[in-house]
Amino acid sequence: MESTGSMSIEVIKPGLLTTVQDLGRFGYQKYGVIAGGAMDTFAHRVANVLVGNEETEATLEMTVVGPTLFFREAALIAVCGADFAPTIGDAELPLWRPVWVNAGQTVRFGTARSGVRGYLAVAGGFNVPKVMNSYSTYLRAQIGGFEGRALRESDELALKDADALGRRLIRRLRSADRKHETHATVPWHVSHALIPRYSSSPVLRVLPGRQFEKFTEESRAEFFSRPFIVLPQSDRMGYRLQGGPLRLAEPAEQLSEPVAFGTIQVPADGNPIVLMADRQTTGGYPKMAEVISVDLPLLAQAQVGSEIRFELVDMNEAQQKRMMLDLNIDLLKQTIIAYAQ
């Protein structure tokens, strides 16, 4: 049943890069420790909310090619983010909704069809130790997450027991859907109005960076008028873009200063880099712009070769969008609580 105390998921195939992530390791950047965390925080948060977890629980982040997972015991899961065409037994595993997986089932993820990163949440969360107050895997320092590394074949992922909300959700789900032998789910999913539309030509809204005015007028105009191509060297640390070159009006030595998720910095070669979840804590390159929070998932889901365009917005708009998103996730939480009654 739902609380055996020692539940686990076995990794049959690990996928390309599957790691345990949460919302990040906060409070440690002053020590030079990166924040890390989920690349697409929206998909991560929603997956947790759908199984009755706190948003800060750990999820599995899969990349481009997903894992194959054997569920020794039954569990309530939700898969959000990119579409890896997951299956459970012979059935399709639906996205963006809670799914009760029966004991002895295998969930297979394929290659991402739209977007590149998927998030799997389990009611109760993954039972991995917190390091510096976070479950996130810090690959370079080999700490956090599952043994400080990406998942491998035969790993056993221990699960925590679902809490009261998760247990209520499970009961409701199992009584409402008895159609499948493999799983039980709901006929509804998170509204399309809320889910970002993943695209190979996304438009990202930005605020001016701290050194925006130091770039030539020509480079500033070019930044907003041409597409930038996502290069293969892009990873969890940063998205390397081709385009430009973007030039400073006068060459300037700059001291290292803090950077943020979404900071667009421009090294000497003039091609911009958008800093992502595993960014270093500080950087010494001039900052052209900052991607607004609500548009970061679009970039985290952009595949190599995507054409990125940038559009300038102001602080009020950026922060209103961000607060609206947080309130929408709160609303989703209330909806789940009401459904589980």
């Binding site: 420790v33 510096m132 370079r140 500080t282 900052k287």
Partner: protein
């Protein structure tokens, strides 16, 4: 559009770093006075974190505050501030942070300063641990012994941590041992390596690629993920290197793996 979006308030400048962080600049160069203000402001934030702050990150000339916009906005409803509530509710979270930072600077002058902590770092110079020690000596027309003596003769100020967990950006190296970076960076530099790059000296807390001239290695761990704080050094510390023999290094490593 105002690119910097900054406002100058009595000797410091506040500007946004995206929609969830704000950078407070306290000076323009690497100097002890600017560093003193950075340390003072950081200590204030540690003791009086503003509502909605996620964390603060000190750097050479600035302190950046990462915040949660919704929590900052909501906090206005629960905290009594100067001015009417409706006045504050019309502000964006960024504007609320700006006002709070201004108020903090009014309090800052009276905040107590602490004496910087001195941390002594043992280094086994040369040999397999310092493959570039002779190059550094030759470049500066010094003997190896002179390089070691000069490297150990001063205290260094930890201006900030960054680049890697626990990596100190140190100020105060003697220019007589300054040496350009290696032309071809090494793919791996072992943890604990002590190096020189230009006019900077530093210690690698974890294994990483890099182009520094390696002059020695310390057996002391700079990054301790299971302890709090997780680093041996903190911004504002002073450090002093002292030479140890290979035997002492090995003994130390056995004691403190």
């Amino acid at each position: 559009m105002d690119g910097k979006g900054g406002s100058h308030l009595a000797g410091y400048a506040v500007s946004p770093l995206g929609d969830a962080a704000v950078t407070v600049e306290l000076g323009s160069g690497v100097d002890p006075e600017t560093h003193r203000l950075v340390t003072l402001f950081s200590a204030y934030l540690e003791d009086h974190p503003p509502a909605g702050m996620i964390e603060y990150v000190p750097a050479y000339t600035s302190v950046t505050i990462h915040y949660d916009p919704l929590q900052v906005y909501k906090s206005v409803l629960t905290q009594s501030e100067e001015g009417t509530e409706s006045d504050w509710l019309a502000l964006s979270p960024y504007e609320i942070m700006q006002r709070r930072i201004r108020d903090m600077f009014d309090q800052l002058q009276s905040h107590e300063e602490t004496t910087p902590k001195l941390v002594e770092i043992p280094v086994c110079y040369g040999g397999e641990f310092g493959p570039d020690l002779e190059e550094v000596a030759a470049h500066n027309q010094l003997t190896v012994e002179e390089v070691i003596r000069i490297h150990c003769s001063r205290d260094y100020l930890v201006y900030m941590l960054g680049f890697a967990p626990g990596f100190p950006y140190l100020g105060g190296m003697d220019k007589r041992i300054a040496t350009p970076r290696k032309k071809t960076p090494r793919l791996t530099i072992p943890r604990g390596s002590v190096g020189i790059a230009g006019e900077q000296t530093g210690i690698y807390p974890i294994e990483t690629p890099g182009g520094w001239q390696l002059i020695g290695r310390t057996p002391v761990s700079l990054f301790l993920p299971d302890r709090h704080p997780p680093t041996l050094l903190q911004a504002g510390n002073r450090i002093r290197f002292y030479p140890i023999s290979r035997e002492e290094y090995d003994r130390w490593s056995r004691r403190d793996p």
